[in-house]
Structure formats: C-alpha cells, structure tokens
C-alpha cells in the first residue's frame, strides 16, 4: 500500500506538469492562437513597462521637431506638437488595457452569479426575474450609454476627498455593468445543461446544499466559457475606450491614448502625415484581432470536446 501512495504522489506531481505542457503545445499547434497569445503578452508588456521602455516622455512638447516622418531617432515619427508617436503609443496601451481588463473584472462576478443561479433554477420564477432583468440591460446600446453617462457626469475627475473618480473609472463601471447580460447569458446556457446532468443529481442524493452545488460543481464547468468570453470582452473594452477617447469623452489630452491620438490625427488624413493615423490604428486593430484569436484558441483548448491532446491513460 505504501508503494501505491508514493506512486500517487508522483502521479499528482506530473499531472499538473502534463496539463501545462499540454496547454502550451496545444496553443503552439494553432498558429493563429500563438499569434494572439503573442499580441496579448506584448500589449501587457508595453502597458506595464511603458515608463521604462518608452524612449521619450509622451507629453514632452518639442515644437522644432514637429510632424517628422518616421526616422532613426523617432521610429514612428512625431506629431503636431513634436511628441514622439512611439512613446505615446506605448503609454496609450495603458488606458486601453486598463479599461478592457477592469471592465471585465467588474462585469464578471455579476454575470457569473446571475447566470449560474438562473441556470441552476431554470424554469423557476427566480430564473424569469434574473434573466428578464439582464435582457433589459442588454437592450441598452453600449457606447451610447457610456457617452451619455460621461456626458452627464462631465469629463473632469470627481473629487470625493478620499477618492477621486477619474473619467476612466466611470467608463470602466459603465462598461462592466453593460457586460453583465452577455456573460450571464453564456454562463446560463452552460449552467442550465450542467444543472440537469447526472452528477448534480448524484450530489443531490448525497444531501449537498444547492449553494455548494452551484459554486462547487457547476461553476468549475462554466469557467472555460467564461475565460473565453472575458478575453473577447477585453478586446471590446479596448475598442470602447478608443472610441470614447476619440470623441473626447475618455482620456483627456495631453495624456496619451490610442483614441486621443487618432482624434488629433484627424486633421492630417489628406495632408500626407500618414504615420499619425497609421500606427495608433494599427495598434488598435492588432490588439483586438490578437485578443479575438487568443480567445478562439482558448475555446478550442479548454473545451474538452475539442480536446486533441493525448488521453492520459
């Protein structure tokens, strides 16, 4: 028996190892997924290390060197005020990812809890109330409400003394709340099929309470879908932030943001200063595509039905 115990421990140890290498090799097998993962990692790297790796101060005005095309000292050229486009691009990754990630983190708990409970009690009055409520929120167009809220509250930071609500926090909260219905729907779909499966019945016959069934048994089975959705919604957040900053309701100039950069470059569309539009546009496109590809790859890897790796037996 002792021999068996040792065997089990070593098995346990290798199991995690196998899972991680499986995950990585599965990711490496999908070229698009690998590209997506690379883009996602790159953007996070830029956002986190912008202060150290950006060659210039993103708000440093250098009028003599304004509107320079890409060259050796300014790889992506300079803008109207002579600021380095590359540095602004790196700093611009920060608000984009902040909004993208934080909005998802705010929307996720609500969406998951509502979806789980509604799915578990499918057919009950509780389900009707929860799901109809989320549908009401879902009927509200995302960007328009964000514009309206920022418009009502104003773009200036609201000082509460101990805490300052910046414009980004407003956007993050609005987006987060508007994310709830989509997440709830997705979780609901999975949870309602898991809730009627036999293993849940088996747990019920053991006398387990619904609460621990919902969060202990159903939730882990929903997590792969949630992960994928979170990735896709992050891309949505990046786009929303760029859009709001573009119309002047997000990040305020002179701070750098991809939307702000595009907005400032509007005047130069026809005059030939292509680098002002091209690079922030490229950054937004690549980020969104990257997150989407990464999300697709995650779905394929995490869904056991798509599981292509070796069976562990």
């Amino acid at each position: 028996m002792k021999k068996n115990k040792n065997y089990l421990i070593s098995e346990k140890f290798t199991k995690r190892h196998i899972f991680l290498t499986d995950f990585l090799s599965a990711l490496a097998n999908t070229k698009t997924g690998l590209f997506g993962a690379f883009v996602v990692l790159l953007m996070f790297f830029l956002a986190i290390f912008a202060p150290w790796i950006a060659p210039y101060d993103p708000t440093l005005i250098d009028v003599p060197n304004r509107l320079q095309p890409p060259n050796l000292s300014h790889w992506m050229g300079t803008d109207l005020a002579g600021r380095d486009v590359l540095s602004r691009l790196m700093w611009g990754a920060r608000p984009s990812l902040q909004v993208g990630v934080l909005a998802v983190l705010i929307g996720m708990p609500g969406g998951i809890v509502i979806g789980l409970i509604a799915g578990f009690y499918r057919g009950s009055l509780l389900e009707t109330i929860l799901m109809r409520a989320t549908e009401i929120i879902a009927a509200v167009p995302l960007l328009i409400v964000a514009v309206a809220i920022v418009g009502i509250l104003g773009v200036n930071p609201i000082d509460l003394g101990f805490f300052t609500i910046t414009n980004e926090i407003k956007i993050v909260f609005v987006l987060g709340i508007l994310y709830i219905p989509g997440l709830a729907r997705v979780v609901f779909a999975v949870a309602s099929t898991e809730a009627v499966s036999d293993y849940i019945r088996a747990r019920k016959t053991q006398g387990v309470r619904d609460f621990s069934l919902i969060f202990g048994d159903v939730l882990p089975n929903c997590l792969s879908v949630v992960t994928v959705w979170a990735t896709l919604l992050t891309a949505g957040g990046v786009l929303a932030e760029a859009g709001l900053s573009f119309v002047g309701l997000g990040v305020q100039p002179p701070d750098a943001s991809w939307g702000v950069m595009l907005s400032e470059a509007r005047k130069f569309i026809f005059s030939g200063e292509w680098w002002l539009l091209f690079f922030p546009g490229l950054a937004i496109s690549i980020t969104v595509i990257g997150f989407n590809l990464f999300g697709d790859a995650l779905r394929d890897i995490l869904d056991p039905r798509h599981y292509t790796g070796p069976r562990i037996d």
């Binding site: 068996n4 016959t205 882990p220 037996d313």
Partner: protein
Amino acid sequence: MEKAILKVIDLSVKFPTKGNDVEALKNISFSVKTGEALGILGESGSGKSVSALSIMNLVPSPGRIINGSILYSGINLVSLSEADMRRLRGSEISMVFQDPLTAFNPVYTVGKQLLHIIQTHKHKSKKIAYNRALEVLSLVGLPDPVRVFHSYPHQLSGGMRQRALIGMALACEPKILIADEPTTALDVTIQSQIVQLFHELREQLDLTLIYITHNLDLMAELCDRAIVMYQGKIVEEGDVKTLFNSPQHPYTRMLIDCVPRLNKPENNVISTSNKNGKPNLLTHNIELEQLNNKEPIIEFENVYRDFFIEKNIISSIFGSKKTLRAVADFNLKICKGDIIGIVGESGSGKSTVAMLALHLLSATSGNIYYRRKNISNLKGLELKSFRHNVQMVFQDNQSALNPRKTILKTLNEALIIRHGSPQNINQMAEDLLLSMGLELDILERYPHSLSGGQRQRVGIARAMAMEPEIIVADEPVSSLDVSLQTQIIKLFLQLHKKHNLTLIFISHDLALVSHLCKRLIVMQDGKIVEAGNAFDIMMHPSHPYTQNLINSVPKGITKF
C-alpha cells in the same frame, strides 16, 4: 454458387493520434455474396463500425485507410475518386445508422430529404420521384406514407423514424445495405418489428445485407453468416449456426456466455438460482412471503406524478395546463434486502419512479414513505439520513461524474459527507475502489480518461461511499458492452450480499432483470401492469403487454 459482390482484402485503417497511432483495423479480409446477410459482431472499439464506414469510404478524419482494397463488383472502392464514390453511395451501397434522430436533418421534412436523394441519383422528374418516395415509404411498412412524407423527423416516433431511414437507404434500389446497429436505440418491441422488416425486405428485394451489431441473439435471428471482431481483427468467421453451436475462439465463447437469456437461466453466469443450479419456484415464493411480513423500507401509496407540458402565462391564467401523466396509481412495498426490477419501454414512467423514490421529484398526489415516514415531510436530520441511505447509479456514466473533478475528489466528497473529515479518508477511498474491482492508479485521473466500465464502477463506488441502505439503479448497464454488463451485474449482486443492500433495478432488458431480480414490476404508460415473482412472470406472463415484451426479445440461438 453466387459470387462475392463485395470483397475486402487486407484492409487496415489507422487513426493517427499524438504519441502513438491507433490501428482501428488490422489487415482484415472478408467477402459478402450476393443476396447474403452478413453479420459483423463485436464490442465498442472492436472496429466493426470503422469497417462499415470504410466500405462507404467515409472513415472519419483523421483516420485513413493505409492498406488493402475493397472490391465492389470489380471496382476498387479505396482508389475511387470522391465524385465517383459519391455516385455509388446511396444508389449502389447505402447505409442505415444507429440513431434515427440525428441521421435526419431536423429542418427538412422526411419527404424532402427522400426526394433529394432520389433526384440526385436517378435524375427523375419530381413527379416520378414523388411516387417512388411514397412507394418506398409503404415498402418499409409505414401505415400512412403521405403523412410521413410531409412530417418533420421529430414528429415521428423512434420506430417510424428508423423505418423512414431504412426507406431512404432503399430509395435508389441499392445492391448492398449496411445497417450499423439500427435497433440499438429502440425499444424491444420496436426492435423486433424492425428485424421483421429486414426479413421481409430481403425476401422482396434481392438485397445484400451487412448487419453490424453487438447483440448476438439479434444477429442469429437475422444473418446467414457472421464475422466476430475483436480489437480490429477478425477472430472468427463462419455461418451463424456453427458459430453459435461450436464457437472456436475464446472471445466468441465469452460473448455467447455473457448474454443473459430468457430461456436458459441455468446457462447463465449471473443466474440467481440456488446452489443446485435449478431455479426453485418454492424457495422463491417463500422468500417472497418472508419479505411481505417484513417492515417495508420504502412504500409507494397511490402515487401519481404529472408533468406540465405547456407552461406559459396564458395557459396558467386560463387554467388549461396540458399535463402528461408519467406515473399513475403506483403502489409498491420494498423491504430491506429486496432486489426489485422495474421493466418497461421508454416512456413507461420507470425513470420517474426512480426520481420519486430518491425524492428528486415530488409526487403530484399520493404518499411515499421511507421507514413509515412520509418523505415529503422529512426535514433537517431526518432528511439528511434519508439522503445518506438512498443513493443512485445512473445510466449515462459519462454525465454521472463531474468532468472537472478527479476520481479521488469525487469519492472524497461523498466520504466527507458521510463521515465528516476522517484522517484516513484517502485510505477509505482506495479501499472503496479496490472493492469495486478497480485499480488504484485511476484515483488522480479525470473521468474522461476512463473507460465506460471503469466510470460506471466509480459511479457505484460513489453511491457505496455513502453506505446506503437502498441503491436505485436506472439502466446502469444499458450503455455498456455485454461482457461489461455481466461484470457490473455481478458487482451489484456481491454488494447486495455483503451489505444486505436493497436494490431497485430499472431496465428495459427483460432477460437481464429476470436474472438479477427476485421481484419484478412491469410498467406501461405509467401504470403497473404486472407485478410479482420474477421467475413466475417470465414463465407465465398474464398481461398481454408482458407477453409481447417477452416475445419481442431476440431469441437468437434458441431457434437452433
């Protein structure tokens, strides 16, 4: 002597997977003569379906034919182009699948799909195709061809769907019909009708039949010759009669021995007869009387259960709820140590009875008592003890285990509920697995990497972890191969003896139930139509429905 219409020579099919390739077929050769019915017999994973699919050149990717040839009247199907093959499929060789619901496209009517096939292959006008479609539908014995023609697949019953599917396969007058487990998903009575249909079709049309099944008796009734497959190889081949009467290969012998049969209880490994081998009516009756005097552990009293089919605001306001009566006027006493079999076809309400006994559903009216206490009034500790003492084993071993939890975790959860958190919990889980005949190395694995039989044993282990008095088993073996079925049934009997377990065993397989259970209940449309000593019912069924059920079971070998 007729010449072979289809010849398979040295066929090998490989499924490349990471690490090592799986060889699904290893150099198999067989031939089919014109007008013959060939049976291909084997368990899941034996390669019987793959061999059928490779005849159609439809081996599912990533599998591919790596060697060998398939000759159909001189043409090598393996080297045929996809376009030529498509012309052959349906018009020369056609196929009937196991699940008649997924084999139809749900968004088109049966008729439209029929017309499509006829028009693609025969290039006839719509009028002629329509007439041919109706002709085919009446050929397969559908009572109202015009209605079936205009129906969507979901509007037909399982048996009608399978008939329509066979009709579709026959629409373009193929020479060869391949049937891949065409009756496995159907009830016994419908199964026997379909088998009868195959007999008639073979007489009327000059049809060559390749019949794939795991059911020996069914094959014995239908086929002239059979090949037995095991792990991608043909282990035995011969005409059905000699195959069954003197099987050469040990695997074939094992298959034949495993199948529970109605008429030969003395042959059976899982016979419940007493030591001298002959089932003794007298002792059965005495046991029954003793049971009647005992205290019932679970008692059903005039239990009804309705389901609302249409539940919406309008119907609830006007009080016109459509209901379906799943269980009606159900009375049953179950005593400690009883093994009760509940038999019925799908829709007879037998699973609902299981849910009621477990208090996963509550009765619409009537009372269910556990140790003289009404289970709908149980609260707190009493409910807890009820939950601990009544456990369930499920049909679908895949969905019965949480895919995200290791076997150890699943078992430990149950053990913790029963015993708190004992120090030696892992030891207990290991002992439990060993007593189920499982190896310890599966403890840290996830359910998806286990085989069906292993998963079912884990399911039983989880139920046993609660140390229950009663286990309700809802079709616990119907998704398993015959040889595994026997093992699981043996396991149930062992547990019954060792722990004086009460078993409620729900199944559609009469033969199986009659061997395992002392008492038998036959259900039809939610009602008990016959109840009593299992042996008596099997020998002298009084209700016409029971008689029909017993007659429908394929007798196979006993006809020789």
